[in-house]
């Protein structure tokens, strides 16, 4: 990859990439985090953590010399959490169908 392409890839992952991945991670975390004693940790902890997740992704994209690691981590988080949300929505009609045959 040329230095210019590397630079723009890095900018892409530090800029819009970090925002998108942070938001999708927040959405997905609500589905796998344990609810805790009050049953709300999975709902409120992602809301609190999202600025920190964004900051971590931003600085990681800026500072990690291994660009492949930046790409794998960001895409991995995106696919994992996006997949969880998609699965929940794809699963919903089936559940509804079972409940109301």
């Amino acid at each position: 990859m040329s230095p210019t392409a590397r630079k723009w890839t890095r900018i892409g992952f530090a800029g819009p990439g970090a925002i998108i991945v942070a938001i999708v991670t927040m959405a997905g975390m609500a589905l796998w985090l344990p609810g805790g004693a009050a049953g709300i940790d999975n709902l409120v902890v992602p809301l609190v953590l999202v600025p920190l997740i964004w900051a971590l992704l931003f600085f990681h994209a800026c500072l990690d010399r291994n660009l492949a690691r930046v790409v794998v981590l960001s895409i991995g988080l995106l696919v994992l959490h996006g997949g969880l949300v998609a699965h929940k929505f794809l699963d919903k009609p089936a559940v509804t169908q079972e409940a109301h045959p």
């Binding site: 938001i23 927040m26 959405a27 997905g28 609500a30 589905l31 805790g36 004693a37 009050a38 049953g39 709300i40 940790d41 999975n42 709902l43 409120v44 902890v45 992602p46 809301l47 609190v48 999202v50 600025p51 920190l52 964004w54 900051a55 931003f58 600085f59 800026c62 500072l63 010399r65 949300v85 929940k88 919903k92």
Partner: protein, 528 residues
Amino acid sequence: MIHLPREETKLMVAVHGWSGILLGLLLYAVVITGMAAVFAVEIGEWSAGHVETRSAFERPIDQPVRALAASTPQKYHEGVDLFEIGDHNLGVFFHHHDLDASGTPISRGIYYQLDRDGHVASAREGTDEDVFGPRNDDALSSFLVDTHVRLHVPDPWGLLLTGILGLAMLVAAISGLLIHRHLLKDIFTLRRKAHPVLVDRDRHSVAGSWSLPFAFILAFTGSFFSFYGTVGVPIVAMSAFGGDQQALSDAVFGNPGTPNPTPHAIGNLDRIAADAIKRSGDAPTYMAIENFGRADAAVTTYHHPKAGDIEPITLLYNGATARFEREKPSIGTRPSAGGTLVAIMSPLHFGDFAGVFSKAVWFGLGFAMCYVTLTGLRLWLARRVERMRSLDWLERTVTVVGFGLPLALLGAAVGFLVTMPLGSAVFWTPAVFLAVSAAAILAGFIVPTHALLSRALQIAIAVLLIALPLIRLAAGGPGWPTALAVGQPSIMAVDLAMLLGGGWMLWRLIGQRRKQLARPAPTLQPAE
């Protein structure tokens, strides 16, 4: 110490500089108004001359609320919020929960504002967005808070903007930490006789390093508040509840129980208030009644944290019997890590967990943040203006915003003090702010030198700071003996802070002038 390789350090210096230069002036506006808003309650009392020291919840509220309920349509009895307004008077909002066109939960109902004797001073019907707004006697503190929260840009864009500014501050704070190669040495280094740019650099570095943890906390909690309702809740509700935001709100804040719509008179609210004060040691900041007039009514009272604690207190009562049920967490039905985490965001951001002491620390650190933002912008410019004369406009802009903004805020305070007795402060407070801002911008264009512009604006700030207590008295505000006699020291404290602040600025400006006059006539010398 964090030792980044040279290339990464260069990148972090660039990130630190550009995050400041692109959003620094807006960030400065948010931080300076936030710094003042730490004392929003005290500024409200000072500016409006409030001399009542007893909370509305320490006076009878039961009969007035019952009378209001009798004349309020039943559909608005789903929720009743009680809180203080003005000079410890009572605001009551009877409402029901609804959804707007975009599916966002809203409250619709009638907002009553009561006077000191519990009579209705005004009643407005509509959604929470329609009925709440600045009042004649809190126009100044409302203006400050609204500038800080959303820069007067309509929702959700204003909140998104301040959220992005919070993230920029987070980036500036973390990158500022990463670029320090010798943090421990830097936080104690102040070279007073070095080149002016180095002196400025040392001051920026010292103020920035000491306030770094604070900047991180403020940026983190501030962006949390800005993004919470605008981005966070809709997305988590979409993910966990298929987009039902009310379901999310009920799960997090609600008091679940078996519905019992049987009509039942509400329990004695005075008894609840008195018991809540006894248990928490402080009057409620807020009281929320669910299902008013039903057998399953629940009353929740919210209080500041106890001394030595950081988590606010929340007490739950049976609404029908006025019997104390239990102390509950502010978030969720049982204590939990997530609930505690969310509950401490507010005291951490507002600095009100240990009364005036923590507020003073937050104010001081806010001042340091303003100083860091401004000196950071000036350092960025100082390194470039020598090479790029075309940046002179930016240097002037920084001065106009840096000193013009506090001047305009003080102007807004003058406008409020003069027009509040006439009943037109809601209009004139922002109007005078805009007029003084326009005057500062005009001065930026017409004052011949940058140094003169900076000095003129600082003199104007100092003069207004000294004049404000006098204007307050001339406008009919209570004097110090009256305020002290009724146990309201905040009026005297704000007066004194303004006199001391103005006096210190004048003394500093006179000192600088004397130094300039004592210096020999300048001769042309090489820049380095």
